[in-house]
């Protein structure tokens, strides 16, 4: 009797430390954020207002403006970075690339540099007084028109090598015989990349799109750091808006409301992206299958 009870309890005993922290520091804050978002603070008192904060948030043009802006950023940054990562991985996978290990290391190196320091270094390179080249070119990367692209550049610098590494790892799993067979059939390196490697990488590409999107929606460090060098709109990214709401305006219930909304939007769009790319993949696979059958 005792031993069966012990058997039944022992997995939970192993789970206990993790579950305690998981519930206390992830689940409870989420639930509590939702709970807080149902109140307002007035004169040191809390009043239950139901979904009033959400009703306000839906009409909060500043918040939605920041969400749209960060979606625009996520698309531009995602396309540029993942195209670069894919090009790097494919280029280093050809027979023409020399010193592969050295280049892989250099491209992946920024992953080890904390985002804050990447932003500081690029921020100084962007600031006119420190950079005579910019003065000569009459170009100001911190001006409002170029600002978004300057942030795109920082994030691309930080994460292109990381994504390249994920692609490279998926490519090394492929047997060399497949490539040799394709070369025998007269495939050149372009065709090899386009008809064999990219289709093989498709699941990894989908995953990196989703991961990069989730990361971009959380954009905070780069614009927050650059604020020290140039005025940055608080509605450039939702997380700036939320941080400002919580700590400059000390409106925690409303900050919690926006946090909950941002989480929901991020998850919803990620799921949609995953579903759309799956459909797209299936269509592409079908096209390939018919092409193979047709003997193309």
């Amino acid at each position: 009797m005792d031993s069966t009870l012990g058997k039944r309890l022992s997995p939970w005993a192993f789970m206990l430390p993790f579950l305690l922290l998981f519930v206390a520091f992830l689940i409870v804050p989420m639930v509590y954020a939702f709970y807080t978002s149902l109140f307002i603070h007035r004169m040191g008192n809390s009043y239950f207002v139901g979904f009033q904060n959400y009703a306000n948030a839906f009409q909060d043009t500043a918040f939605w403006g920041s969400v749209l802006n960060v979606i625009k950023y996520a698309i531009i940054q995602g396309v540029i970075m993942l195209a670069l990562s894919l090009a790097l991985a494919l280029l280093l996978d050809t027979r023409y690339a020399k010193f592969k290990a050295f280049f892989r290391l250099v491209y992946f190196l920024p992953y080890a540099v904390p985002g804050v320091f990447a932003s500081i270094m690029w921020g100084f390179l962007y600031s006119k007084p420190l950079d005579p080249l910019l003065q000569m070119l009459h170009f100001d990367p911190l001006a409002s028109g170029a600002f978004l692209y300057s942030i795109v550049n920082i994030a691309t610098w930080e994460w292109a090598g990381y994504n390249m590494t994920l692609y490279a790892a998926s490519l090394t799993g492929v047997s060399n015989e497949l490539y040799e067979a394709a070369r025998m059939d007269g495939c050149n390196e372009w065709q090899l990349a386009w008809y064999i490697k990219i289709p093989l990488l498709r699941p990894t590409i989908v995953m990196t799109i989703v991961l990069s999107f989730i990361g971009s929606m959380q954009l905070f460090n780069e614009p927050f750091l650059l604020e020290a060098l140039t005025p940055v709109s608080q509605t450039f990214a939702p997380n700036l808006d939320i941080y400002n709401m919580a700590f400059s305006l000390t409106n925690l219930p409303y900050a919690a409301t926006l946090s909950v909304l941002l989480g929901a939007i991020t998850i919803a769009i990620s799921v949609v992206v995953m579903m759309v790319t799956r459909l797209f993949n299936r269509a592409a696979e079908r096209r390939q299958a018919t092409a193979l059958v047709a003997g193309v």
């Binding site: 992830l26 904390p114 610098w157 925690l252 900050a255």
Partner: protein
Amino acid sequence: MLEVKLGRESLPRVESRVRPSSVLKSFVTFVVTVVLLVLAFYFLIPVVWILVASTKTQAELSSTGIFSFPAHIVLWENLKLLFTYSGGVYVRWFVNSIIYAGSVAICTCVICSMAGYALAKHKFRGRNITFFVILASMMIPGTVTAIPLFVVEQPLHLVDTYLGVIFPLIASPFGVYFLRIYIRDVVPNEMIEASKVDGASEGRTFWMIVLPIIRPALSTLFLISFIGTWNNFFLPLVLLHNQSLYPLPVGIESLLSLINTAAANQSLPLYQLVITGSLISIIPMIVGFIVFRKHIVTGLTQGSIKL
């Protein structure tokens, strides 16, 4: 010059039946190498810049070319400025970063391997739903829970403490997911059963059989969680207000944010502090990264391929 030599070296190694003409091949090799070098330069620019900038005085930063060393190198003076600033608070931040990253990495390994073992090798009611909830929570953006965490930690008196930053980072859903997969695939059931037949307790089996087998996965998780914590900015920024508890990124940001304020006009050498401080913060990460790269890559790719 370098590229030309490369092109020649590659000449004798023409292989397989469909050989492009060797002139064409060495030309393509040359072009590819140039492209790769240009890109390598792009990824090294900021690091080279900060190395050069740390040897200059504040005035020289704007008066000399961004990649040219000054006539008189003042790296040593800049380091002295950094380490003596505000009673050596930079050293404090450095030690704090080691405390946060080290304790989070160790505790994550211990706690996640226990949970991963239970989920991988035990059948019990609620196992699948528990694992599903842990997996689903990986979708939640980290910054979304930071402000709510601040609200929850206030009544627990965890705001502005080491533990307040450490606890939330230990509960890593990725760690459990990663080790569950690893233990399920790598630890043979027969060894666990044999150990139990020999009369070993669950705890002893875990300690003597499971942990030694999964050591490679643990070192990978340790590194990933160490880097993640060392690089984390948003969570400590939200949870800490006492500057003697700051980790490096938050500390350096607090200096940077003074650059355009009144303090900058006083005699504080903020540019040198930020630049030298950033350089010293990056060096251990870059060195560690080069040494342990293989482990890190394994973890990142194994963890994400099955996502």
